[in-house]
């Protein structure tokens, strides 16, 4: 009896069997499903390029490259150009990169190089992350009702005392490049700070200790050893921050004044590609759609190129620190 069950056990209680046809099919189709989801993401980007390109194509043929060098945007006369927008986009992003970049890198050094104890560093990191979480429109609202009134006296004083400097050549009447630039630099600060923090953290402790061992002060170590070592990551953070600034829409549409002009002055109103789209598209007539799509494609190409470069630099530097 005992023998019988012993022999029968492997047959009755065995859990191993070849997969059924259903299980084969299920596994196969699940894997195809995951692949399809991935490929869909790629196709989405391709389709976006194709769709916007197709809609912009008639306008591209009609206005050609002259579109990029014309300042006028006049639907009544059917004259369209986006030089002012391209200038405003690049100028505002560049200024924001200058301020936001310096602040962002400072914050990254502040947080990673032992200036704060653990608890304060946690609080400060939270502040920076909350800066990133606040929606763009809220910054716009804050800019209109808090920032512009606050900086106007200073801006107008600068204009009155130093009107010969091109940056201060106009009065700040309300919305303009300067408030837009400040809000934009606040918005890219968290991006720059987060990515360059990672670069600083990736530096092995022994490099820092070697510098101290040579008798450097803290700042000599930071300036001559730490920053050069992290320079790849810092550069990537600046490029990606620039990319963010280029595509930022709502805060700029609310603060920059949407004026079709090319000016070096920080206090004059200006416009950007994204704010042109935001402010003109909703009320656009049929004849304006083409030029607007053309502008959208220009914005797409500029931002994609910058992000492309930033991603490649980041891939390259992260691979470098691993090996």
């Amino acid at each position: 009896m005992a023998d019988k069950t012993k022999n029968a056990e492997p047959k009755v209680g065995s859990v191993s069997r070849p997969p059924t046809a259903f299980e084969y099919g299920y596994d196969k189709s699940f894997r195809i499903l995951t692949l399809a989801a991935g490929v869909l993401t790629v196709l989405l980007l391709v389709y976006i390029f194709w769709k916007l390109g197709a809609l912009a194509a008639p306008a591209m043929r009609e206005y050609g490259l002259g579109f990029l060098t014309t300042v006028e945007w006049n639907p009544n006369k059917n004259e369209y150009g986006i030089l002012a927008e391209i200038w405003g986009t690049l100028y505002s992003s560049f200024l924001a990169l200058l301020f936001g970049g310096v602040l962002g890198i400072s914050v990254a050094i502040f947080l990673t190089q032992g200036f704060l104890n653990a608890r304060l560093a946690w609080v400060f990191r939270l502040i920076v992350e909350m800066l990133a979480a606040i929606p763009s429109v809220v910054y716009g609202l804050w800019g209109i009702y808090v920032l512009i009134p606050a900086i106007r006296p200073m801006a107008n004083w600068l204009h009155e005392t130093l009107p010969f400097i091109p940056f201060f050549s106009t009065k700040l009447a309300g919305p303009g490049m300067f408030p837009a630039m400040i809000v934009l630099s606040i918005m890219i600060l968290p991006t720059v700070a987060a990515i360059s923090q990672d670069a600083f953290k990736a530096i092995p402790m022994k490099i820092q200790e070697a510098a101290y061992g040579m008798g450097t002060t803290k700042w000599e170590a930071i300036r001559k050893v730490i920053i050069p070592t992290a320079s790849g990551g810092i550069f990537a953070s600046l490029v990606l921050g620039f990319g963010r600034a280029l595509g930022e829409t709502m805060a700029l549409a609310m603060l920059i004044g949407n004026a079709q002009q090319v000016s070096l002055s920080l206090f004059s109103p200006a416009t950007t590609l994204a704010s042109l789209l935001a402010s003109t598209f909703p009320e656009a007539g049929a004849n304006q759609i083409g030029p607007l799509m053309y502008a959208a494609v220009v914005l797409l190409v500029i931002t994609m190129a910058v992000n492309f470069i930033g991603t490649i630099i980041m891939n390259y530097t992260s691979r470098q620190t691993v090996t």
Partner: protein, 300 residues
Amino acid sequence: MSTTEQTTMNPEVVALGDPDLSFSFGERRTLMNFLQTVTLWILAGIAAIPLISVLWMLISRGGLRISTAIFTELPPAPFEQGGGIGNAIVGTLVMVAIASLISIPIGILGGLYTGLLNPDSRISALIRFVGKVLTGFPSILSGVFVYAWLVIVMKTYSAIAGGVSLSILMLPTVLLTAEQAFRMVPQRMKDAAYGMGCNSTQVATKIVLPTALPGVMTGVMLAVAGASGESAPLLFTALFSNYWIGSFTEPTASLSILIYNFSAMPYENQIELAWTASLVLVLIVLVFNILSRSFGTRRV
């Protein structure tokens, strides 16, 4: 320095005497070090000012109007007093839900492919790269694209179009963080499952997905938080509406567009409502941000 050490030293060095190790700001290098530290503290302080100012304004101006009417009433007409932002809150939540329904499954499945099933293939590298490039995709272009693709075809602004354009912005975040989370599942767990005779699907759904779920949820919540605050993609996909949402195929209100519209109005009542809407919007975004942290894994 102890005497025993001195005796073993090179006599020439000893002749120079002990170095002056006292701390003094008279020393140029010490002074520079101090000044740079002060500069850094000032810069960090400057970086913190905007947030404090924004939060102060949200609480002091937005908090004034918080009441039940805010959540239950419709936006007021010009010169009208009172009113609320109920339809905008509902609209934002509905559109974020639509966007989540689209982007979360696609993002997680795509992440499974690139992170687990076929991580080293060329197509995975391509998907990953496209994901990273899409992270920097300008949000307004998502709106333009959906306008050209859905709004023109459906011949109406709608909550669906708004949701789709938000989903384009959520997708890369979900995909990349999910992939990262799947990769962090220890290889030995996957190997053990394969060794037991699991097929790829079973490893993915029964081992990797449950283990990586906190990490995946972190990404999902971050994406949801980001999408709730977005406004540019909704401008000409969902447009705005002064009424409660009736169907998914009609123009729909959202908090961010309400703030944008009301901020430019010359009426005190509307501006107050814009601040209150900002407070509500920031709270919604923060709730999702805190949720993303509560899942306990490091954000990627």
